[in-house]
Symmetry: C2
């Protein structure tokens, strides 16, 4: 984020103000990652050991705070896509993109929500901005894999976000029980996405057990429609 600690005015923030700004950003980062963009600013303020008023002086509204935090996280995802394109083998590249992008989303619920929906408000916010950078990279990643005959021919670039959605739904669901099982499902999906005639990849982690499934289920709350 913006490492220059000043407002629109040229004057630098007072020492305590700057310290609190950091605290707020840290608390918000943690809470958004753990619980998603739904956390209230009251909660963030409390977790940052700061009054709500302080939060609102520094960030005029919630969206601004979200923007400040996630702007470069979206760039990070674009960066992953670029890394992936830099890998010579087309299939490995695609795999890399899925795996690493999903790792980030599995560790950060807020980022996942930002990537999947249009930001938090209907305004659209940062969704489009980040995605306009990411989309062409994904399209190239997929086309390249097609050209190399590595991807099943009937797969579309526009299946990619749906795969991300699918797997990160699992990551969300099982977060508190076993935060790594989503890797199994990604493995399955990738094997299903790959062109015919390749051996399956080994499952990277053991499955959930009966009790794990039950606990994941009972920890689940239906989303608001």
């Amino acid at each position: 984020m913006n490492s220059i600690p000043e407002e629109a005015t040229g004057r630098p923030l007072r020492k305590d103000a700057e310290r609190n700004r950091r605290r707020i950003l840290d608390a918000a980062g943690t809470l958004f990652a753990e619980q998603g963009l739904g956390v209230s600013l009251d909660e963030i303020a409390h977790h940052a050991d700061v009054g709500v008023g302080t939060v609102y002086r520094r960030f005029p509204d919630k969206q601004t705070l979200i923007d400040a935090l996630f702007e470069d996280q979206l760039d990070t995802i674009a960066g992953v896509a670029e890394e992936a394109l830099a890998i010579d083998d087309a299939w490995e590249g695609l795999e890399h993109f899925f795996r690493v992008a999903l790792e980030k989303q599995a560790h950060n619920r807020g980022l996942k929500e930002l990537l999947l929906g249009a930001g938090i408000s209907e305004s659209g916010g940062c969704g489009p901005r980040g995605r306009d950078r990411i989309e062409p990279l994904v399209v190239r990643l997929v086309e390249r894999a097609h050209d190399a005959g590595a991807l099943r021919p009937d797969a579309s670039p526009y299946d990619v976000p749906l795969v991300q959605l699918m797997v990160s739904a699992v990551a969300d669901y099982t977060r508190d029980v076993d935060p790594e099982v989503w890797r199994r499902l990604l493995t399955v999906v990738l094997d299903g996405l790959r062109a015919e005639g390749h051996a399956h990849s080994p499952m990277p982690v053991p499955p959930l057990d009966r009790d794990g499934v039950l606990r994941a289920m009972s920890g689940w709350r239906p989303p608001r429609g």
Copy 2:
């Protein structure tokens, strides 16, 4: 549901009362299916052209209404698993279970939420009841497929609910844009789940296009944590 139109008392409901009971059940069924268990009773009452009070006289609370509606829907899913076991070919059986169970969930958001979470309240409600019937059937379905060498050997019965979760997340996400794309993703997952050396199944429907993805994204609301 209970087709005998009487309360705990032996007296049958007055004609208008019975008519309204049906209206409420119908409206609730529709709205739960479309929007999930989150819909308010006020909304249901309005959609049924009935006062809220009427709803509450007939169904003491929301959970009762949900139970009345979904009890047998859960049996239906168990029925699908039984159908699946009755199919000779183990792989076809498993495929049938996934496809048909997911069709039901894709058409009915409320059912999906009931299967995935522990009912609407922390009480557990109908979740466990239905699932105790379903689980052993799924285990047998999977074991049978393993014995037949049709399923990849490292797949576990407890991956099954996660697959359902994944695919129904797609169904939810794209419901308003193209309610059938989830079939593509199911195809991919099933191909990834099948033992090695089988040809891929053809994609049953065309992919989303760029605009479709965008519209799905903008229609998405982050769940409450």
